[in-house]
Symmetry: C2
Subunit: 304 residues, 2 copies
Amino acid sequence: MYDLVIVGTGPAGMTAAVYAARKKLHTLLLGQEYGGQAARSLAIENYMGYQYITGPELMRKFEEQVQQYPVEIRRAEVTRVTRQDHGFVTQTAEGESFRSRAVIVATGKRPRRLNIPGEKEFLGRGVTYCAVCDAPLFAGLPVAVVGGGNAALEAAWDLTRHAGRVFVISLAEWRADPLLVDRVKNAPHLERRVGYETVRIEGDKTVTGLVIRPLAEPQKEERLDVRGVFVEIGSTPNSHIVSDLAELNAVGEIIVDCDGRTQVPGLFAAGDVTSVPDKQVIVAAGEGAKAALSAYRYLAGSPG
Amino acid sequence: MYDLVIVGTGPAGMTAAVYAARKKLHTLLLGQEYGGQAARSLAIENYMGYQYITGPELMRKFEEQVQQYPVEIRRAEVTRVTRQDHGFVTQTAEGESFRSRAVIVATGKRPRRLNIPGEKEFLGRGVTYCAVCDAPLFAGLPVAVVGGGNAALEAAWDLTRHAGRVFVISLAEWRADPLLVDRVKNAPHLERRVGYETVRIEGDKTVTGLVIRPLAEPQKEERLDVRGVFVEIGSTPNSHIVSDLAELNAVGEIIVDCDGRTQVPGLFAAGDVTSVPDKQVIVAAGEGAKAALSAYRYLAGSPG
């Protein structure tokens, strides 16, 4: 029986773990990969304390910090959190289950799919959701980035330094930090296709092309000869593990109050999986700290 | 006319400045000293990304990060924020005033006073509110720390390495992080006086003693021969500059929603000055980012 189970090892979960440990809560941290989405970030310039750091580097620092404390850590995929007696049971895909008096869900988001032909077939063979991981593999080759937000433009910016020609395909005008837009829009070898949708990904053993069409003239399909397709069209919250326990908003995020409390006493959430609108590492870390301190206050007042 | 005036140069204000600048808001940052209360912290072990860093060091990193951006910065004491037309006017003690469409108040807190005889007279001559600044001045000398929270115990812990005997005087049982309590309570040369109040500070040119008495037996005054009195009994929010504009809670904190909005459109607040219960650097930074992003959304939708 733990005081607290924290699900998720991104910025929010790891910060919560440090705060819980400093409050001497008997804590179990469960997660699949350290760093979560942040570990896929090419460059972080807005985490205070570091003018510039890569996502993987910053997340390694978070991880080392957690490891300073007597927090039990297990690599596991959590499938479900349910209530039991005065506490909770957290079940994993590996068949284990863990009881605790409180739970913090910090499971973040996962990349959204295009859902077009060829996407699944060529996953890992030209189709990727992780620019930070895969950009260097496309040195000198033509690639396409699908999306028009911060993540898409960061990927495009990085790819202009690795790849050959870079197409950026978006349904609507780019919506990203103005600084980033300025930087990317004048990058050499970059071609914008605004107002286009993706139709299918073609290839043989690996990707050889992406077919797109303008929303205004859907009959005018265009084939881009690219070897890589970087999908950066946003993400979906990993809230399914508490979907019949906590209240979710219209986009599937766990609804929390300002202190990370859900409507279920003892169940807390923090970071990108929650209804807090700003998905930023520094925000997730702050929310993780608040959730852990809320859990501590809850446990101090709750029946053993 | 600025888009945004940020008042306060602690963790919340500096983070807000970075986020505002990245959104290309025309921003003015006003404050008296970089780092605020955080710069007085002896040791920060719970700011994610740094296993151990002193408050001044971390705040210098924040400051350097702000200076990467085209944010106008002015050292000034803000005396009042008022509404004017569709925006705000921020006035300073130096007689200047600045107009802006939005304001973020991130003015933090200031140390609470004991309000006993001798406290004012011996300020800077043995009486101090800043352990990080003054602990080294008391090498080998007996000192008293007044308070029983995190700040008091951090000060006591540091003083055991500098000073001679260290008395810790508190009205009630220590209320601090369990890890810190464990560390401090067994420190050598440290004497706990729990259930005591302070009566007066005595001295000649400088402090020579602190008179205390047990709450249970008020007639039994005791004089501690100390050369330093470190006052660490909490702090008061610096919300006076918006006291007739924003709604404050019972302890004088500016009431904000989860996104740093006050009840006044265009007026935001973040960090220790707000009703957010957890006063932590990582929380203040997260709240500063959220307030800046809220202000950006407000400005994007507000009349010029």
